[in-house]
């Protein structure tokens, strides 16, 4: 809110010189003003509204820390950078293996049910393209964690346990394996079965995604060899991202 004039226009004349109250109000106005050169903290009881030509904040250390709202038609213009996130963020995205959800293509060795893809205990494997919308571009994929369960009780630990891989593919389908590995050997057949409860296996990746140049796939093979049994259910792969430092197109 503006200060009022001390006096109306043309009221300073002749003997009607400034009196104490004039100076008191002038002094008070200076106390309540905002010092453009010296800075300082003003404690506002209402908003300051600036229209007209707007404002330019030219300091490199300018901060607006209370949050910002745009009225409809207002814009936040980010120049040639992206809105930044500090500290950088993490996120996880689940790639479900349910056939109807994400085009899991089965070989004869695999089938699907409402809970995932089901293995048949042979040595064939499966590629699963990761839908592009689940790849966050230009950030670090820390790991991929596979969730599965062993479908039936086993007489012994399978000779070959399930293996998983994370692969990138360029525009000409040249594949590069980023990481691969097999489930560690359990202590017993019962440990492997685990009452049919969910189990996980994680691959450490540490790779920066690039959806301009690559697509990404998951590969895996079911258990096989002696003691191997059909019926393992592969549910999903969870991609863990970190280093998300800005809001560029994901």
């Amino acid at each position: 809110m503006r200060n009022d004039y001390l006096r109306d226009s043309n009221q300073y004349y002749g003997p009607n010189v400034p009196v104490a109250s004039d100076f008191g109000r002038l002094d008070l106005a200076c106390q309540r003003g905002v010092r453009g050169d010296a800075g300082g903290t003003s404690t506002l009881q209402g908003p300051i509204s600036v229209g007209g030509q707007g404002m330019t904040l030219s300091s490199t250390t300018t901060k607006i820390e209370g949050g910002v709202s745009t009225a409809e038609g207002g814009r936040l213009h980010v120049g040639t950078s992206w809105p930044q996130l500090s500290p950088s963020r993490t996120r996880s995205l689940v790639v479900p293996f349910r056939r109807n959800a994400h085009s899991v293509f089965s070989k004869a060795s695999f089938s699907s049910n409402p809970y995932g893809v089901v293995g048949s205990a042979d040595s064939n494997g499966l590629w699963v393209p990761i839908p592009q919308r689940l790849i966050h571009d230009a950030v670090n994929v820390v790991s991929v964690t596979f969730a599965f369960r062993v479908g039936v009780a086993h007489a012994g630990v399978p000779a070959t346990l399930p293996g998983f891989g994370f692969v990138k593919l360029d525009a000409n389908s040249v594949a590069t394996i980023i990481a691969s590995g097999s489930v560690p050997t359990p202590g017993s057949a019962d440990a492997w079965y685990n009452h049919g409860d969910p189990q996980t296996f994680a691959l450490t990746l540490g790779v920066t995604t690039d959806t301009k140049a690559h697509s990404y796939l998951i590969s895996w093979t079911d258990e096989s060899g002696s003691n191997a049994l059909a019926g393992n259910i592969y549910h999903s792969a969870t991609l863990a991202y970190n280093g998300i430092a800005d809001l560029h197109f994901p």
Binding site: Q31, V34, T43, G67, F105, G125, R133, T211, T221, L247
Partner: protein, 273 residues
């Protein structure tokens, strides 16, 4: 924060000292003039805080705020719950020179291809691109950037057979169509830019079967849209359609690898998917 009082109590009859008048005059020069604007050089931050009990905004800027130095930020305190809130229809805008103005995206044809069969995750054996019989087509839903202008799609492929008898009579052709919610297709390239009346663009006729084979090395066909396509994924799905070679000397076996779309004129950060 303003100035300390020049005088604690102003009383009529006491003369105003020159130093007091000088102080008041100097203070008015320093104070920000919001009506006329101007340039100030603060030696300490100008901080706008809220008085106790006041929860409304401390600043309403009805025009624009420009942060003109590269280090200037609009920062929400960590874990404060503060937000940057956009009014209806508002987004972050990108500068004309912003790297995000153009956007390329690779759509692999393995993503949607036929059954493929790797060995245990330490090998890429069995990885397969799309391959279709002679004269047969396939389609691939692409994922362009909503709101952008689509200028071209480059289709990558390899010819896997030698074609020693000659180039195929009919070479592969591609087109991109937009498909609305009812399934109606509209090709996005016309005769004016080199397509046929249905929007198809054929691979240019090579000089020989050997040239067509190209030793199995990667080849590409650039499908350039007429005048750029304004992408609207709220109304359309965009589909690439490909038809394999056919006719005399056709052997099939083309390995269709990927499509790389080029999108431009992205002016803001609205949801790209």
């Amino acid at each position: 924060m303003g100035y300390a009082p020049v005088r604690i109590l102003w009383v009529n009859g006491l003369p105003v000292l020159a130093s007091e008048m000088d102080a008041l005059d100097g203070e008015t020069v320093d104070l920000i003039n919001f009506d006329l604007g101007g340039t100030w050089t603060p030696s300490a931050p100008v901080v706008w805080a809220s008085a106790s009990g006041y929860t409304g905004p401390v600043f309403n800027v009805l025009g624009a705020v420009a942060l003109t130095s590269s280090g200037g930020v609009v920062r929400t305190p960590s874990a404060s719950g503060k937000r940057i809130v956009f009014g209806d229809g508002d987004y972050y805008e990108l500068d004309a020179g912003h790297p995000g103005i153009t956007f390329n995206r690779l759509d692999s044809f393995v993503d949607g291809a036929a059954a493929i069969n790797p060995t245990l995750g330490s090998s890429t054996t069995g990885l397969a691109e799309i391959a279709v019989p002679i004269g047969v087509g396939f389609s691939k839903v692409l994922r362009p950037h909503h709101g952008a202008t689509w200028t071209q799609v480059t289709v990558n492929f390899k010819v896997t057979n030698a074609h020693s008898s000659g180039a195929p009579a009919t070479l592969p052709k591609v087109r991109v169509v937009q498909v609305d919610a009812t399934g109606a297709k509209t090709p996005l390239k016309t005769v004016a830019s080199g397509a046929d009346i249905n929007g198809w663009l054929s691979v240019p006729t090579p000089a020989s079967g050997s040239a067509w084979f190209n030793s199995g090395n990667p080849q590409s066909l650039v499908y350039t849209f007429d005048a750029g396509v304004l992408l609207d994924t709220s109304r359309y799905v965009y589909v690439l359609e490909v038809v394999e070679e056919s006719g005399t000397n056709a052997t099939g076996g083309t390995a269709w690898e990927s499509a790389v779309g080029v999108m431009t004129a992205i002016s803001d950060t609205r949801a790209p998917q």
